[in-house]
Subunit: 215 residues, 2 copies
């Protein structure tokens, strides 16, 4: 295609150089990342909230197998964070306190107990689960550049999708959920990799609007 449009290319270079194009691509990638994060966070919070407001525990209150002497044991064997609690936990999680110490746990528990019943164990478990989940979703495979001798044939598809947003002409953004689970979820609830782009990425979003306007 290079030959065919060479002439037009000369004109083109004035308005959009390759560097600019690259920058655009990066910006979109950053955009995508942030969208994904937003979506996940929203889903986590909204889902919980919705469920709770709809009386989540109300469904199975009557357990015929309960001992008659005890008023209402049952119902809840598993702690469920209230929306407020969840929100606070999420905030703390991505604030950078990735390693909640024992002391930190106590503090958090103390704060959360103002918004609902909770125990330190709950908080501890929550952070453990949160971390594990993030990790699993982000990097199911391998280290930095390790060459997998294992049979990994499949995950390529998903990884590529993120690396090059428009490389394949495939323009399914993060939330474009197909019939299957959304591909490539950078679900770590951090904003962006501090190392990779730093503040650049954030500002990039501002620049992107210009292109959007042009379109």
């Amino acid at each position: 295609m290079e030959e065919g449009v060479a002439e037009e290319g000369a004109v083109c270079a004035k308005v959009m150089t390759d560097e600019q194009m690259e920058a655009l691509r990066k910006q979109i990638a950053a955009y995508a990342t942030i969208c994904e994060q937003l979506v996940e966070m929203h889903r986590a919070i909204a889902a919980r909230q919705d469920s709770l407001s709809g009386m989540r525990l109300g469904s199975l209150c009557s357990d015929p197998l309960m001992a008659p002497g005890v008023a209402k044991l049952s119902s809840r064997q598993r702690w469920t964070p209230t929306p407020t609690q969840l929100q606070i936990l999420e905030t703390i999680f991505y604030e950078g306190n990735g390693t909640p110490s024992k002391q930190k746990i106590k503090e958090i528990t103390s704060e959360l107990s103002q918004h609902g019943q909770i125990s330190e164990t709950n908080v501890y478990n929550w952070f453990q689960n949160r971390r594990a989940r993030s990790k699993r979703k982000k990097q199911p495979a391998a280290g930095p550049n390790a060459a997998e001798s294992e049979a990994e044939v499949e995950s390529l598809n998903e990884k590529k999708a993120k690396a090059e947003p428009f490389a394949h002409g495939n323009l399914s953004p993060a939330v474009d959920d197909g019939p299957f689970q959304s591909p490539d979820i950078s679900s770590e609830l951090r904003f962006a990799d501090p190392e990779s782009n730093g503040s650049q990425s954030m500002f990039a979003l501002g620049d992107i609007s210009k292109y959007g306007d042009a379109f």
Copy 2:
């Protein structure tokens, strides 16, 4: 605005084909839409977490302004195995691979992807659910008589009650309220609150309104 589109569309032909350009545009539009809606939702949640019951579906599902050519967001569809996939899964499950390692998961996913869209997570979940379901069928069939009910409850309780390092369910000893959270739900959300922790509160996305505008 139209002129701008025409010009840039033409001049950019060197580095981007028209198709790529179109793809880019759609992608940006999609992201803009997604972010716009997400931000709106977040704002609503932060403002009043109580009265948005009907808002969840209304805002997302019925969105006529979807970017053309972009798959509808918020489909929220869940993966459903095709008959072929299901058959393969059943076979593998029945074969005795009771312990699907991650490696196996990848292989299986790879194979199943030839018969329809699927991800590793789908396979993982399927096996998890399958196993749980099998177990549940066996377990309830404990005693021949009414003892089953008691045994059921007891086994559960003991399992859960076990040894707890500290705190869990023993929150309000005086009253049997069950281990679930207290009904107190303060509507205070510090979700997108800039003042709460300052720093990067994820919403550099405040700028997102611009995208919506352009879009």
